[in-house]
């Protein structure tokens, strides 16, 4: 696996499948979806609130891939191109639902964070839930950068490539997002 979580052994096969799919072979596109659905869904799941939303994000990603298939030049592996589309679809979704999540209650955060020094921290699942809640209060670009940089542990360069932002912008946004996230989790929210 390469750094972006994409299998490196198949780019040529992917390119061939892309060519066949552009020629109108639905079976070739089905094979592309079958190969890459895991990567796309795992990535999108960091942004989705529930399975229905995850399904929507996944479908929207592959629909966009299908529409833009002719613009795939093949100078980078198909998986990288697909990852960029996934990130953009998720970012669009975050921006759309920004208004809905403004009023999310942070009551869930209060209990686990109240006693951080005991050593009996929250379970992995609970930690994820708490982070999700706190991250829902971040700006879409902050949430995107925290997810890619911190949760998915990608490098600054990878985040820059995926988002289309400069590396400096990624660093600045990651720092600001982390500060905001600490405020939200710590409970001294400005709002």
């Amino acid at each position: 696996m390469c750094a972006l979580g994409v299998p490196v052994a198949v780019p040529d096969e992917d390119a061939e499948l892309v060519r066949t799919a552009i020629a109108g072979d639905d079976e070739a596109f089905t094979e592309l979806v079958r190969r890459h659905k895991g990567t796309v869904l795992r990535s999108a799941a960091r942004f989705a609130r529930n399975p229905a939303e995850l399904e929507d994000l996944g479908q929207e990603t592959f629909l966009r891939v299908y529409r833009d298939l002719r613009s795939f030049r093949g100078d980078a592996p198909f998986g990288h191109w697909l990852s960029r589309i996934t990130v953009h679809v998720c970012y669009d979704a975050l921006r759309k639902r920004r208004r809905e999540e403004k009023d999310v209650s942070l009551e869930v955060l209060a209990a686990p964070v109240a006693d951080p020094s005991t050593g009996n921290g929250p379970s992995a699942q609970l930690a994820r839930m708490i982070l999700d809640q706190a991250m829902s209060r971040l700006k879409p670009e902050d949430r995107l950068v925290i997810t890619l940089y911190e949760l998915e542990d990608r490098s600054v360069r990878e985040v820059a490539e995926l988002t289309g932002w400069s590396e400096t912008a990624v660093k600045v946004r990651a720092f600001r997002a982390r500060q905001a996230l600490k405020r939200h989790i710590g409970g001294d929210d400005e709002r």
């Binding site: 639905d26 596109f29 399975p51 994820r128 542990d153 600490k182 710590g186």
Partner: protein, 105 residues
């Protein structure tokens, strides 16, 4: 004091992030037969697009007939205008002069 608090929060956040990384999101339910649903949606959107194009083509003769009718109507029912624009203006002026004469102004 503030620095200590900042450190504690950084550690706390790192702990949450590390734990959250350990809990990969469960995608098994969505992953099952996902490609079938994607292809169904692609076919559906293709059909919608096709039907839109079909409607657009079906409307072409309607607009063609409408254009011909409007063209014919404008040729048949438009009032005859003199070729010279000055004559048009003069006609208007004569009417005003006649009206002035009749009203005694």
């Amino acid at each position: 004091m503030n620095d200590k608090r900042r450190d504690r929060r950084d550690v706390e956040l790192d702990r949450y992030i590390a734990l959250a990384r350990q809990a990969p999101p469960d995608i098994s339910g969505v992953e099952r037969n996902f490609e079938t649903r994607v292809m169904a949606r692609i076919r559906e959107s293709r059909e919608q697009q096709d039907s839109w194009y079909a409607w657009a083509w079906r409307l072409v003769p309607v607009f063609l007939v409408l254009t011909l009718l409007l063209g014919g109507w404008s040729v048949l029912y438009s009032p005859v205008r003199p070729d010279d624009p000055m004559a048009t203006l003069a006609t208007g002026t004569q009417e005003v002069a006649l009206l002035d004469n009749l009203t005694g102004e």
